[in-house]
Every structure is written in structure tokens, then in C-alpha cells.
Amino acid sequence: MNDLSFLNEMEKASGEKISGCYQCYRCTIGCPVVADMDLYPHRVIRYIVLGERERVLTSKTIWTCLQCVTCSVRCPNDIDIAHVFDALRKIAVKEQKEAETDTWKFDQYFMDSVKKHGRLHEIETVLRYKIEKKDFFGDAKMGMGMFIKGRMGILPHNIKDRKGLKEMFKRLEDKKIGG
């Protein structure tokens, strides 16, 4: 443990006291998607302390996370582990080290839609994502089914003050990544 720079970087980026972890494994034991992870959550935390920057930033784990926050709520040291993963995602994307790009891409399309209309335009967001993935018919049946049941709108819901909303995005977007 010679190099604490990554630990310091992550404690600052997430605002969480990562060094408080004493490896009780409660986060890992409670995680509903741990089977799909390449690094167990408690190990991610430990690797941050040990300064294993590359291993953590390139891990699949931070993208497998569902942000269900079970780990965070159970942590006896009040470390919001899901929030640490969220902070890791931002750094991984900034440095183009992300192990999986789908989650970020979808979240970004989601935000583009909100920025444009003020409210999420579901079908536009989904179609943009599907086109990007070149997956045109994968969920067509589901889409039709939802449409028939009246659960998929066609037109966007625009708010009145879109100008003010866009202004807010502009003021904050380039300022810093992550906040």
C-alpha cells in the first residue's frame, strides 16, 4: 500500500469514506447480480485502497451494478458502495476504459431526450438505442404489445420552459464531469 493517490482520488470523487472498509463482505453477499461480476464488490473497494486503478476502472462489475443500493444500506461503515461504482463509471468513461458501453449509451440517450423535451420521450430513446445497437426486431413484439395496451406513447411531452432547462444543462455540462 505505497500509493494512496487512487484512494484519495476516489474518496474525493465519491465523497465516500472508502478507507473505512474492513472487508466484511456484506456488500458482496447481498448483491443480486454478483454472479455476473468479474470482481466482487468488496474487492473493488479493497483494490481502490490498494491503488489498483486499472483493474478497477476496466472491471465489468461497475457496469453490472443495478444501483439497487442493497450493498450501501447494509454497509456497517456507511460506505455508499453503489455511489462509489457510479463515480468509477464516470472516470472509466472519461478515460475510455469502460468494459461495457451499453449502460452509459442508454443513459446518455435518456438524458438527451430529457434535455430536448423536458420529459422522457420513451419511444425515441428506445429506438435511438436500438438503431445504435442495430437490433431492429429484438423487442418489436414487446413494443407492439405495449402500444396496444396503451403503454407506449408516440408523441413527446414537451414542457413549456424548455429554454430554461437547456440553459441549466449548458451552465452545468462543461463545468466538470461528475460533480
Partner: protein, 300 residues
């Protein structure tokens, strides 16, 4: 008549429109008035905080500042909206630096973080109240066995007191009990449905939602009841996600109230998994199972 500022969120205007209709019908039966927040915008849900946390707070703060001018408590029926609103509200109140930054971005709007933010369980518990709920029952739900499914984000909120236990909530159980339905104790109250991975990783949502459905079937339930529109949708689209096994209807909390009050569901046609079997269990007897009688029978 008590009034709340109503923040629908995107889901209640699109994929879960019938949830809004249901809430309005039930609330008016208990004299709870809803005044929809003018020109509200998306709360950013699960996406915004991943992309940029300050923008996530600013998006919520925009709605909070509009609601602060109204002077009623804010009612957010969607669990994600409630979760994000609650977090930003508390953070902005406590953290002046963040509050100033967010308010600068949202100018001329100004958010103080002084609002009371409430979810549907809180509103029904506090504004209608268990006793009034039980008194108003017009249909017998005792033949309907339900499992209460809270979902992740309603009570799992870090760094603050939540309205119910974070990992073993019981407030919705109490409400359901008050409607006269049979409430099963089960271990999957808080299990994750797969959340927003439905598009990016269908297999995860299928696996997680399917195991919730399986557990509900094992418990001998007739329906799963949830207050969260995302949980409801993920479970309701299970047939489309590729689940071949049997599915139980997934009802919104307010829909159980609809059954108890009116004996029917206004949004029955919007459910993907058919709800007819569950409704049939309700209408058979015209109420008599009133609060007083159950009390006299020693049922409580």
C-alpha cells in the same frame, strides 16, 4: 379536503397512465385533492446521476422549486421520482455550496430544500388512515391473497431517516391489511426487479423479475402488489421477456384500493398479464367485513 402538489413523473403520463387514473379515483374517495405541478420536468431517474450528479440535482431542484411556491407537500407516486426528490431535497437543505451551485444553474428558479416529499404509502397512511380505509371498504377482499412488493428505491435511501424500515418495511402490509386482503409474509419484499437494465441487459431483468414471480407463486399468492411503476412494468412484461412459466397479475397499490372501494379496476385493460382471475376473487361477496366486525371477531 387535503391537498397535495402532485408530481406525476414521466411514467404516470406514458407507460403507467392507468396508475394515475387509479390514484385519482382512490384519493378522491378519501378527500385527498391533487394539484398537478405546473410545467414539471423529468427527475432524471436512474440515468442522470450516472452521467452527471450536479445535473441530476438540478433537474430535481427545478421541480422542487416550482413546488415550493405551491406550499403543499409534494406527492411523488413513482418510487424513482420519490427517491431522487427526497435525496436532492435533503442534500440541498444541508449543503449550501451545492444549493448555490444548483440555484445558479436554475436561475431564476430557487430551491431551498424545505419541502415535504411524500410517496403513496405515506399519503394513504397519513391522510386516509388505516381506520378510515377499513371503514370505507365496500367489497370483500378476503379471498385475494397478495404479496407486498416494495422494490428497491422507496426505502433504500442512504444517509437519512426513511419513512419505514430500509430493509424490512411493513407500512404497505398494514395498508393492504386494512383493505381486507390477505397479506402474505414473504422474503422478496425488497428484491431488485432488474431496474433499468431491461433494455441494455434483458437477461438480467428476466432472471431477477422471474425469481420474484416464482417466489410469489410459491407463496400461493393471487397477485403481486407494488407502488413502483418501473417494478410493475418489469414484472408485467415478463411474458415478452421470454418467461414461459405461469405469471401472476401485478397490481398497483392503488388498484387494491380500487377493488376494495369499487370492486373493479379502471385500468384492467392496460395490464399485460391478465387480471381477470384476481378480480373474480373480489366481487363474489358484497362487503360486510367492516372494521368494527373484524375488531369484534378478534381478527386483528
Amino acid at each position: 379536503m387535503r391537498t397535495l402538489t402532485y408530481y406525476p413523473g414521466c411514467s404516470l403520463k406514458t407507460s403507467s397512465k392507468f396508475y394515475e387514473t387509479s390514484i385519482r379515483e382512490v384519493f378522491s374517495a378519501y378527500d385527498i385533492g391533487l394539484k398537478e405541478l405546473d410545467d414539471w420536468s423529468c427527475c432524471g431517474a436512474s440515468a442522470a446521476h450516472t452521467i452527471n450528479e450536479t445535473i441530476a440535482h438540478a433537474l430535481v431542484a427545478r421541480n422542487l422549486s416550482l413546488a415550493e411556491q405551491e406550499n403543499y407537500p409534494l406527492f411523488a407516486p413513482c418510487s424513482a421520482c420519490y427517491n431522487r426528490s427526497k435525496i436532492t431535497n435533503e442534500r440541498l437543505r444541508a449543503d449550501k455550496e451545492l444549493r448555490d451551485e444548483v440555484n445558479r444553474a436554475n436561475e431564476p428558479l430557487k430551491c431551498l430544500g424545505t419541502l415535504e416529499v411524500k410517496n403513496i404509502i405515506e399519503v394513504l397512511s397519513e391522510y386516509a388512515g388505516v381506520e378510515r380505509i377499513a371503514r370505507k371498504i365496500a367489497y370483500d377482499l378476503s379471498g385475494l391473497k397478495v404479496v407486498p412488493y416494495y422494490g428497491c428505491v422507496l426505502t433504500r435511501i442512504m444517509n437519512m431517516e426513511t419513512f419505514d424500515d430500509k430493509e424490512n418495511p411493513t407500512s404497505m402490509d398494514t395498508l393492504l391489511w386494512a383493505t381486507g386482503a390477505e397479506v402474505a409474509e414473504w422474503p422478496f419484499k425488497m428484491e431488485c426487479c432488474g431496474a433499468s437494465k431491461t433494455l441494455t441487459n434483458k437477461e438480467t431483468t428476466l432472471r431477477l423479475s422471474s425469481s420474484i414471480m416464482d417466489m410469489a407463486i410459491t407463496m400461493g399468492a393471487d397477485a403481486i402488489v407494488t407502488p413502483c411503476p418501473l417494478c410493475q412494468l418489469n414484472l408485467d412484461i415478463l411474458p415478452y421477456l421470454g418467461r414461459g412459466a405461469r405469471n401472476l397479475p401485478v397490481l398497483f397499490l392503488s388498484e387494491i384500493f380500487e377493488l376494495a372501494l369499487f370492486g373493479k379496476l379502471s385500468g384492467a385493460g392496460s395490464h399485460i398479464i391478465p387480471v381477470d382471475e384476481a378480480i373474480k376473487k373480489v366481487i363474489k361477496v358484497k362487503t360486510i367485513n367492516t372494521y368494527e366486525q373484524r375488531k369484534n371477531n378478534g381478527d386483528d
